[in-house]
């Protein structure tokens, strides 16, 4: 499936980037296309394009704070989780989402 998402944590220093890396590594290993934007202290990186969002089957918001640009995902299936869930069990999360969407 096509996955887009945003990662953001409280201080924007570490968990944001661990979560992004785990989502991308795990998503790709499971055969999905995945793009994750980070919103950290350094600012927004790997910003999602309109095309990526349009093509996405699901949006994963891995965040401990309110993220910027939530309106971009209006009408999409959005799964919101804290970064801790992604860090602890990325495979379980993505597998469950795929199953729930009937796309596994």
């Amino acid at each position: 499936m096509n996955i887009v998402g945003v990662a953001a944590c409280t201080s924007g220093i570490a968990h944001t980037y661990i979560a992004k890396k785990k989502l991308v590594t795990t998503g790709e290993a499971l055969g999905h296309n995945i793009h994750i934007e980070t919103q950290g202290t350094i600012g927004t990186e790997d910003k999602l394009s309109k095309e990526e969002i349009t093509a996405a089957d699901v949006v994963i918001i891995a965040a401990d704070i309110k993220i910027n640009g939530m309106e971009r995902f209006k009408g999409k299936r959005v799964v919101e989780v804290p970064t801790s869930i992604v860090i602890k069990s990325p495979k379980g999360l993505i597998t469950k989402i795929a199953t729930d969407l009937g796309l596994s």
Binding site: A14, K22, S84
Partner: protein, 155 residues
């Protein structure tokens, strides 16, 4: 990647494989003392207070016996990390409830929000997303390997 920047972020002097600490508080204090000695932190007391401010906002244990406390603080002169390891079981809030043996303390300057250093720190964090990397960090006694492991995502 500027090799000098990597060495400012992490170097052998900021790696302590035999922490004396037997509690989370002592570990943070001991690693802060290393950062102070190297001139990266100018006010240890204030820095520790800012680390604890972050601790209040959510757990910094990653699981797999690793924790990443961090402080964004005016007391930091050079954005950098201190690496500490102990054979003792440190009690730490972690997703798997396991004791912590490796502590990677991130010291971040309050200003200069778009520095190269901050980018490098985010790449250190990305390196910690890999379980094999975490296992090596728990085992190796080679400080050069620790630096390589932490900088593997730097491009």
């Amino acid at each position: 990647m500027e090799i000098n920047n990597v060495r400012e972020i992490i170097n052998e002097q900021l790696i302590n494989l035999n922490l004396k600490a037997s509690t989370k508080k002592e570990a943070i204090e001991e690693l802060t003392a290393d950062l102070y000695r190297e001139g990266n932190v100018i006010n240890p007391k204030k820095f520790i207070a800012d680390v604890y401010y972050r601790e209040e906002e959510g757990q910094t244990g990653l699981g797999n016996h690793i924790a990443i406390p961090h402080g964004k603080s005016d007391a930091v002169k050079i954005t950098s990390i201190a690496f500490g390891r102990t054979v003792k079981d440190l009690k730490w809030e972690s997703p798997d409830g396991e004791p912590v043996h490796v502590i990677i303390l991130f010291a971040v300057r309050n200003v200069d929000k778009t520095t190269v250093h901050l980018k490098l720190l985010s790449q250190v964090a990305m390196a910690l997303a890999d379980d094999d990397t975490l296992n090596r960090l728990l085992e190796t006694n080679d400080k050069t390997e620790i630096i390589q492991l932490l900088s593997q995502e730097m491009k």
